[in-house]
Symmetry: C2
Subunit: 162 residues, 2 copies
């Protein structure tokens, strides 16, 4: 089924929310509090300069990402992105499509690089995927993530130029 990826505003975040909630409540990939509310998630992902994009199949949201400057001011030439895929849409390239789309959008917006600050070292599938999309590991922070099943887990910093 063709995947359509488009930018949305706060008013459409409701379609992303079930995906956000499923991903965050698992506690195995993002630092977000598993009890993050819809309002907090929406503000975090849609308040400028953050931009939110949704991936839809036949009008049904199957994934989303947030793109924003990784730092304010003198660091805002480096983008940051976070990707989420609905549990029932995994294993068929949605994350890869989201990543590719975000790299194009970031480049078009003038960012010079993209950085991920918090990639769980246990998330080998994601790490391999980001590597295939040109990201290199530039840092490793010991025990920075309280993984829901694995406990204290290292976190990778990954980066690529655009």
């Amino acid at each position: 089924m063709p995947l359509e990826i488009r930018e949305i505003g706060a008013g459409e975040f409701g379609s992303v929310w079930p995906i956000f909630q499923a991903v965050v409540s698992a506690g195995d990939s993002y630092a977000y509090d598993p009890a993050t509310t819809l309002e907090q998630a929406r503000d975090s992902w849609t308040t400028p300069p953050a931009r939110c994009f949704v991936a839809e199949e036949a009008g049904v949201a199957v994934g989303a990402y947030c793109l924003k400057p990784n730092q304010p001011g003198l660091g805002n030439h480096v983008a940051n992105a976070g990707y989420m895929v609905a549990p029932n849409a995994r294993g068929r390239g949605v994350a890869s499509s989201l990543c590719r789309h975000s790299l194009d959008v970031a480049r078009a917006a003038g960012f010079l690089a993209m950085q991920f600050n918090f990639v769980a070292a246990s998330n080998e599938v994601a790490i391999r995927l980001w590597q295939r999309h040109g990201f290199a590991t530039v840092g490793r922070v010991p025990l920075a993530f309280r993984h829901s099943r694995l406990g204290l887990t290292d976190v990778l910093v990954m980066h690529r130029r655009l």
Copy 2:
């Protein structure tokens, strides 16, 4: 002169502001936009969970720091801190006192580690200081800082357990 370090709220941030402004307008250490306003700085440094501490000599502010969780939720056992010293108070250990104080406060607050995300690789004085306080470089992000004089400059991620 004895240095007194104490926690302040938003209502006392006015004494920190000239220091913040001097440090940030130099554009050689922090990512903050050099045009950051008093209101933005105050919100960033005093809105919980951020906590602001000021160092005073005879009641005059000579330095300050902000302590906060480096991540929300499942990453909030790692602290983050940023230190600033007034230009006319440099070279006599104020930053070192601020760092030592922040490590004690962070430990008392239950943080398990402290992480700096954005140490300009050009800031050798600061890097040596953090190393003396037990921090190790755990990452290096290429060209992540637009240094006001040096242009695109690498950034270090530094870390220590508490």
